[in-house]
Structure formats: structure tokens, C-alpha cells
């Protein structure tokens, strides 16, 4: 695997101040140096995130508070990231308090990457920051004692010198604030970790379980109106005219605003806005030919068969391998569009006034969104003040600021503070969907060996990102090619939890299962044999580590009792690398009352060092169950531009009774942590499909699996043998 170490300038990324109210404040930047004139404020009321992206306060009583504007989308980074600081700072985790700060300006240096990458990118810088702060406190204590700092040790916020004298961090904060920031500090050896690797419950847990306001949808401001928006009923239609007389006449409606091909109803409360919205009669013209899933299917299938496509990786001579093959296995895999369906529907607060643009809500890309809004409204970026809230799920949807832009546009026109609230119907039909996609995978077989491999992607609106063609089995098959084509649709699409790999892993891992049958070899052994060829590769582009993938596969075999289970359990295997993590999964399917039921999934994951095991297990389990849920039930189509489902009565999400027990096993190592929120999802679909093949005899190539109930019928025992 190529070296993914993040380099950053250690010098100059920390500034300190002595707080007027007492205590030491450390402002720091994760990825960039501070501006030369940046100064940490002396008053907590003046914390901003223009010059620093987080602050640590050490109070005179030794309590540690971390202020960071980074929001939480449910992946536990809000808990895991402060753990890294606390570890190197050497304070008890119970003494650390995390406060989410406001994002005050678009000058904010850089938003910590969303989702799976946060912990990987923050691993070094956050520890460096903690270690630097610790060193400053030690230096201050050593100066007071007149001893060499290196003779002092720290533990749980207490500094001890060689004579056994002790000073609490709080006792030396004022002196520490006056010292220079040390440049070279050493980090702990992983074996000395006392916080990293121990369970820390969600930092917002008390607020969540008692129903405190936390999410964007909970936000309120004086005089705020609620906005419900009428949007085009179909992708590709334009607003011609509308009649809002009935809406206007209803008591609580204050204003009706037309903007950007949409109509906003502003009311005193959400229900009045939702209700009035339904009474608006709008006329729409057809702007462009309206698209249906049938058309997309035909177009994507044709793209799969076209002679040429954009080549993303090519090794050896694939054409020759296929020309000389004894046998060719070729399969097509098909995935529908998917809505994100964050549990908290999209929403955003905006108050656009003459001197300021105040925005509050759940967003993963505050900087980009704030900049766009400033430019849309012809305002200066530093007039935008954006506060991020906790998010009721993200899954990629909140990377897009469309709902925040709507809110700002409406507030600007109405000249009032407003909050846009999507109904579930709005949320599901005005989506930025997982693009529909199809894969054609072809393998050339000669003398019982795989000699060629060709993966073709055809997807709506875009193609897999650049690293994916270098995932497994790249490097394992001599003649190997990945190419791709796309079709530009009016349907808006974007990132959806584990973009592209969320379905590609299913296609590929299903194909490998079938390929093993075709070659009449053990399906696990076949993967292990392929990995042997990648070991010691000099190809810098190869993304995954064959050793780590091999290791998770072997562990999964062991932990799942692979091949040794009782007769009524049917197992399916799948292994995948993405988001810098290596995962292997085994699904156990049983027949209950004549129906196949996914009872258990064994999930082995190598995501480097596990910072917070209790949070990591939750993420890993959620990813597996989410992956199974969408593979089984997730179906979404368009008919003349109109989405097929609008709410959970027709759109099926996995529920309690369908969720298997997920047994997670984390590979114990001390390598830098990698992605966790996403990588357990992609392999889950194929693990289940491969097990279902054993039960039903049907080889699933389309999601969702429930599309044709016939395919889920249990095959007679004697046929399976």
C-alpha cells in the first residue's frame, strides 16, 4: 500500500493565551499553520474559528474543555477525536468536556473531512496538539521547580518530578501560557495508551436520551417562520404559474415566496406551513424529455456493451486473454437509485439581514455552502455566520448545501428569519440520490486459471473515483481492465454512504463466488491464492494491502466457523477493501418457517488501531445492517421524472426483526486508524447474496433482492444436496 501519511507543518500550528477568567487557552490548527498574526483570544466569548479550527481550555482546577465546531453525523468522531488529544495530554477522560463551537466565518481554515476519513486525517495532528500542550505544562512546572523538564512525568493531569513533588495542570496554566510553544515533542508509544483503545460513550449521550435540542430541526430563533417548499413534482419540469389563494387565506400563513422554480410557504408553525403547501395549485411545463427508469436501464445496458469506454486501469493484454480463453464468465449486476433517508429530514435556518447572514443547521460542508450563499446573494464571505448542529444522519446527503441555499434565498426575499423544513415526502423526492449503476464483469479462464478480468461500469451522472480501479483484484490478475461510461441525467445524484463501492463490492464479490464455482475451487482459497500474487508488488498504485486483506479473510473463516456449521445454516462469504480499511464478512442464513432469514453476520475489520471500541462496534454493526437493508429492500425508480416512493409506507427500510446479529472482530494492531463509518457496508450485500444462493439456488445480480419474491423461495433440500 502506498504511504498515506499526512504531512503537516508542526511548527506554528498552536497559539496560546492566558484567559482573563483564568486558565490556559490553546488554539490550534489541524492541517495548516496559523496565520502569522493569529492570536488566541483571552476571553471565551471571543472564540472564533477563523484562525484556529479548535481550542483546548485547561482551567485552574485542571478541567479540560475542547471547543470544536466539527459536527457529528453519527459516526462517533465527535467522541473519538477528543480522545486522541486527551491521550497525549495525559488527562483522565472523565475530566474532558467537549463543546461544539459555532463556525463563525468562511475563513475557517479547513473543515475536518467528513465521515470515514476524519479519524485517519486527525490521527497525527490531534495527538501532536495534545502532546505539545502537555509539554508546555511540564515546562512550566519544571521551571518553577528549577529542574530539567525531561525529569518530570505526567499522569491524569498531574506532573511529578524526580523528588516526587507534584503539580496539577491547573496550577501551572498561567505560567505555561507565557512560554514558547515547543517545537519537537514526542508522541506516546501505542503500548502506553490509556484512553485510546478504551470505551468512551457518545459525548452527547445525556442530551440524546433526555430529548434536549441538538439537531438543526430543533433550532429556534425569535420571530422565526417555518418554510415549506413546493418543488417540481418531477425532474425536468419548470414552474409556469401557481395559485396560492387558499394557502394565503389560511390563518397562520404569513407569506408566499416564489424563487428558483419553487414556491415557499412561510407560516408561524410547521404544521400550518405543511398544510398550506398542499393547497397550492401549481402549473408545470415540461422542460426536457422526462426520464424513466426504463430508459435509464436501456441506456446503461447499452453503455455496458459499447466497444469503447473510458479506461481507468489496464494491465497486460485483456483482449488477448479473452481471445485465447477456454471459457468466459460474464455477468451483469444492476443497482437502482437510492434516497439517503436521513432520519432527520433536511432543514436549515437562515436570517439574511443588511449586515449579516446567519445560518444554522446540519451540514457537512459549511465552508463551501457559506461561500456559495455569499456569492448567490452578492455578499461578502465574512458576512456569513454559519453554526453547525448535530446531524440526524448524513450518509452523504448533507455534503450538499441545496437546502441551506434554499433557506438563505427565501430569507433574503422574505426579509425574515426562516427555517426550511422538509417533510419526509420532500426529503425523499427532492433527493441527491445514489446514482443507478450497472456493472459488467467478465473473466477469462484458461487451463482452469483466471487469465483475464474486465470490469465495465455504466452509471448515471458520473463514474467511480480514481482510486477504486486499484482496489482488489487489481494486481492479482495479469490481464486486467477497468473502464467506465456514464449517462447525464436530470435526476440529481451524489455521494451515498461508501460511494460506488456500496454496489461495486456486491457485484465483484458475487462474481468471485460464481467464478469459484465455475473453476470448481474453494471460494475462500481462490481469493487467498489471488492475494498471493499481489504480495510484494512494486505497483505503487495498488491501494489495498494483500497481507491485511488475507488476514481478515482468514480471521473471518475462523470466527464464523466457515464451512463447519450445522446443516440448517447456509453461509456466504465476502471480503472488500475500501476507505483504507480491510473487511471480511460471513453471512449465516437460516430457513425459518420456509423463509430464508439472515440470522448472523460475522464481520472482521482491520481499520488500524481502534480508538473507541464501543463506538467502533456500533459503526461496524450499523454499516453491515444498513448494507443488508438496502441490498434486500432498497428500491427507487422514476416514472416520467416522478420518484416512485415518497415515504416509508412504500419505501422499505430494514427494521428490527430483519436485522441480523452482527458479531464484530477488530484486528488488533497499532497502525494508524482508518475509515470505520463506511467500509463494513459494501461487502454485506454479497455475503448475504452468496448465502442466499445456497438456500434458494438463485444467483442474485440485481438489488433489491426482494424485487422478485420468487427468487427468495427456498429450494428443496435434495436439490441443494
Amino acid at each position: 500500500m502506498s504511504d498515506k501519511k499526512i504531512t503537516f507543518s508542526r511548527r506554528n500550528f498552536i497559539r496560546t493565551s492566558s484567559l482573563a477568567s483564568g486558565g490556559l487557552l490553546i488554539g490550534f490548527n489541524l492541517f495548516n499553520s496559523c496565520k502569522p498574526n493569529a492570536k488566541a483570544p483571552v476571553d471565551l466569548a471571543d472564540l472564533d474559528y477563523k484562525d484556529f479550527n479548535a481550542y483546548i481550555k485547561i482551567a485552574e482546577n485542571g478541567a479540560v474543555t475542547l471547543f470544536s465546531p466539527n459536527p457529528e453525523i453519527g459516526q462517533g468522531v465527535k467522541t473519538a477525536m477528543p480522545m486522541l488529544i486527551a491521550e497525549e495530554l495525559d488527562v483522565a477522560w472523565s475530566n474532558v468536556n467537549v463543546v461544539q463551537g459555532d463556525l463563525d466565518t468562511v475563513n475557517y481554515q479547513r473543515q475536518v473531512a467528513g465521515g470515514s476519513q476524519s479519524i485517519r486525517l486527525g490521527w497525527e495532528p490531534l495527538r501532536q496538539t495534545g502532546a505539545t500542550a502537555r509539554q508546555m505544562l511540564v515546562n512550566a512546572a519544571a521551571a518553577r521547580w528549577g529542574v530539567d523538564p525531561s525529569s518530570c512525568t505526567t499522569k491524569n493531569g498531574v506532573i511529578t518530578n524526580a523528588n516526587g513533588d507534584t503539580l496539577g495542570y491547573g496550577e501551572v496554566v498561567t505560567e505555561a501560557a507565557a512560554l514558547d510553544v515547543p517545537e519537537n515533542v514526542s508522541l506516546k508509544h501505542p503500548k502506553d495508551f490509556t484512553i485510546i483503545g478504551t470505551d468512551a460513550v457518545n459525548v452527547d449521550i445525556d442530551k440524546i436520551i433526555t430529548g434536549k435540542p441538538l439537531y438543526g430541526i430543533d433550532y429556534k430563533a425569535d420571530g422565526m417562520l417555518y418554510a415549506a417548499v413546493v418543488r417540481s413534482p418531477a425532474f425536468g419540469k419548470k414552474l409556469v404559474s401557481f395559485d396560492a389563494s387558499e394557502a394565503k387565506a389560511s390563518g397562520n400563513v404569513i407569506d408566499i415566496i416564489e424563487f428558483d422554480n419553487k414556491i415557499a410557504v412561510l407560516a408561524k408553525d410547521t404544521w400550518s406551513a405543511f398544510k398550506a403547501k398542499k393547497t397550492i395549485k401549481a402549473e408545470w411545463s415540461i422542460d426536457t424529455p422526462l426520464e424513466s427508469t426504463e430508459d435509464h436501464d436501456k441506456i446503461l445496458k447499452k453503455l455496458l456493451q459499447d466497444k469503447e469506454a473510458k479506461v481507468l486501469r489496464e494491465d497486460g493484454n485483456v483482449d488477448k486473454a479473452f481471445a485465447e480463453a477456454d471459457k468466459i464468465l460474464e455477468r451483469i449486476y444492476e443497482a437502482p437509485f437510492l434516497p439517503h433517508n436521513c432520519m432527520e429530514p433536511m432543514n436549515f435556518y437562515a436570517n439574511v439581514t443588511a449586515d449579516k447572514i446567519h445560518l444554522v443547521g446540519p451540514i457537512q460542508t459549511p465552508q463551501r455552502t457559506a461561500t456559495t450563499i455569499a456569492s448567490n446573494l452578492g455578499r461578502k464571505p465574512d458576512e456569513v455566520h454559519l453554526e453547525m448542529t448535530r446531524m440526524g444522519g448524513g450518509f452523504g446527503r448533507r455534503l450538499y448545501g441545496d437546502f441551506a441555499i434554499e433557506a438563505a434565498t427565501i430569507s433574503n426575499l422574505a426579509k425574515k428569519p426562516i427555517k426550511v423544513v422538509y417533510s419526509r415526502e420532500d426529503d425523499m423526492t427532492a433527493g441527491i440520490y445514489r446514482p443507478a449503476s450497472k456493472y459488467k464483469i467478465k473473466a477469462a479462464i484458461k487451463n482452469g486459471k483466471i487469465t483475464g478480468y474486465h470490469l465495465r461500469e455504466a452509471a448515471v451522472n458520473g463514474n467511480m473515483y480514481g482510486l477504486i480501479p486499484n482496489f482488489f483484484p487489481a494486481g492479482a490478475i495479469e490481464n486486467y481492465k477497468v473502464d467506465a461510461a456514464n449517462y447525464q441525467s436530470k435526476v440529481t445524484t451524489g455521494a451515498w454512504r461508501a460511494p460506488y463501492t456500496n454496489f461495486l463490492a456486491f457485484a465483484e464479490q458475487s462474481f468471485f463466488d460464481e467464478l469459484a464455482d465455475e473453476l470448481n475451487v474453494d471460494r475462500v482459497q481462490m481469493r487467498l491464492d489471488l492475494l498471493q500474487k499481489v504480495k510484494g508488488t512494486t505497483d505503487e498504485k495498488i491501494e489495498y494491502s494483500p497481507e491485511r486483506l488475507e488476514n481478515v479473510i482468514k480471521l473471518a473463516v475462523d470466527k464464523s466457523n466457515w464451512g463447519k456449521t450445522t446443516a440448517n445454516i447456509y453461509q456466504g462469504f465476502s471480503a472488500y477493501y475500501c476507505h483504507n480499511s480491510h473487511v471480511a464478512e460471513v453471512a449465516d442464513v437460516e430457513v425459518v418457517n420456509g423463509q430464508p432469514v439472515v440470522k448472523k453476520v460475522t464481520c472482521v475489520i482491520d481499520c488500524g488501531i481502534v480508538v473507541n471500541p464501543i463506538g467502533a462496534e456500533n459503526q461496524a454493526q450499523g454499516g453491515v445492517v444498513d448494507g443488508i437493508g438496502h441490498a434486500m429492500y432498497g428500491d427507487f425508480a422514476f416514472n416520467k421524472g416522478v420518484p416512485s416512493s415518497k415515504n416509508f409506507d412504500t419505501y422499505r427500510l430494514i427494521r428490527m426483526k430483519e436485522a441480523p446479529v452482527v458479531e464484530t472482530h477488530f484486528v488488533q494492531n497499532t497502525l494508524a486508524p482508518t475509515g470505520l463509518g463506511e467500509p463494513t457496508l459494501p461487502p454485506a450485500g454479497a455475503a448475504v447474496a452468496n448465502a442466499l444462493k445456497a438456500v434458494t439456488g438463485h444467483r442474485f445480480t440485481q438489488q433489491p433482492f426482494t424485487k422478485n419474491p420468487e427468487h427468495l423461495k427456498v429450494q428443496k433440500k435434495e436439490i441443494i444436496g
Binding site: 457529528e72 453519527g74 459516526q75 462517533g76 470505551d199 460513550v201 457518545n202 452527547d204 449521550i205 445525556d206 440524546i208 436520551i209 433526555t210 430529548g211 434536549k212 435540542p213 441538538l214 430541526i217 429556534k220 417555518y226 390563518g251 408553525d269 410547521t270 404544521w271 400550518s272 405543511f274 398544510k275 433517508n341 436521513c342 432520519m343 432527520e344 429530514p345 448535530r390 440526524g392 444522519g393 448524513g394 450518509f395 417533510s423 419526509r424 464501543i614 463506538g615 456500533n618 459503526q619 454493526q621 450499523g622 453491515v624 445492517v625 444498513d626 437493508g629 415515504n647 416509508f648 409506507d649 427500510l653 430494514i654 427494521r655 428490527m656 426483526k657 436485522a659 446479529v661 452482527v662
Partner: protein
């Protein structure tokens, strides 16, 4: 607009809303009790679950006009200190991911356990099946209901 006097978390409250206003929006917009969440508005997800006379109900599908003389408990009123056994279990097991569905899950679980304090795994699954968790924290939810049951006896 009609006036309704309703008892929420033991406190008598008066609101002026149209008669078809769902309890959910009365709680969230009129009474500032935003712990009860909006997920679907059609009784499908359980995010809005509250107790009405001790029974778990969907506040999004319960118009204000039908709850006049009934007692409503929301997540804010489940306990005074966050120490209801179900809340404690939720914390111990560290259930939430994004956390948005959890108030509804806790309200469903607490009403269920009040009627069946030593449920089987099957019974737990049936009881919690109506509450969607988009983050799919179902393993933890199941475990937390089991843990809560042990705290109730």
C-alpha cells in the same frame, strides 16, 4: 382557532391551534418540547413516539383534538433526571449513532417494558419493529431493552 388544555409531563398547558394539528407539532412548535422527533409524519417510523395514558402512540398521527383529558408523557418527562432505567440502559449500552430516532425508541421501549418486564428476544423484536433506526443500531437497541428489563425488576 380553538383552545386546548392538555396535560403534558404532569403539567397542564393551554394551546391555540387548529383541531387537526398533530400532537407532534404542538409539542415541538408550541411547547418547545423538541425531544419528540419528526421522521415521516405518517405513523411509519416511530420517531415521534410519546406515551398517551401510558401507551406508546405516534404523536404525528394523533390530532390535538383527541387528547383532551389524557395524560401525555414525552421523552423530556420520562424521568426528571435522565435516570429512567431505559435511559440508563441506553447510556450503558451506548446505543445512539446519530441519535435522532432514539427518543422514539426509548419511549416505545419504556411503554413496552412497563407491561412486560421480562420479555423474550422475540417479544423485544416485535415491540421495537415499528421504530426505524436509519443508522441501523438495532443490535444495540435490542441489547439495551434487555439491560433495561434487568433494571426494572
Amino acid at each position: 382557532m380553538p383552545t386546548y388544555s392538555i396535560k403534558i409531563n404532569g403539567k397542564q398547558q393551554t394551546v391555540n391551534v387548529s383541531e387537526d394539528t398533530p400532537l407532534l407539532w404542538v409539542l415541538r412548535d408550541q411547547l418547545n418540547l423538541v425531544g419528540t422527533k419528526f421522521g415521516c409524519g405518517i405513523g411509519q417510523c416511530g420517531a415521534c413516539t410519546v406515551h398517551i395514558n401510558g401507551t406508546a402512540m405516534r404523536s404525528c398521527s394523533t390530532p390535538i383534538s383527541v387528547i383532551a383529558d389524557k395524560e401525555v408523557t414525552t421523552i423530556e418527562g420520562l424521568s426528571t433526571d435522565g435516570l429512567h432505567p431505559v435511559q440508563e440502559a441506553w447510556k450503558e449500552v451506548d446505543v445512539p449513532q446519530c441519535g435522532y430516532c432514539q427518543a422514539g425508541q426509548i419511549m416505545t421501549a419504556s411503554a413496552f417494558l412497563a407491561k412486560n418486564s421480562s420479555p423474550s428476544s422475540e417479544e423485544i423484536k416485535n415491540a421495537m419493529h415499528g421504530n426505524i433506526c436509519r443508522c441501523a443500531a438495532y443490535n444495540r437497541i435490542h441489547k439495551a431493552v434487555e439491560v433495561a428489563a434487568t433494571k426494572l425488576v
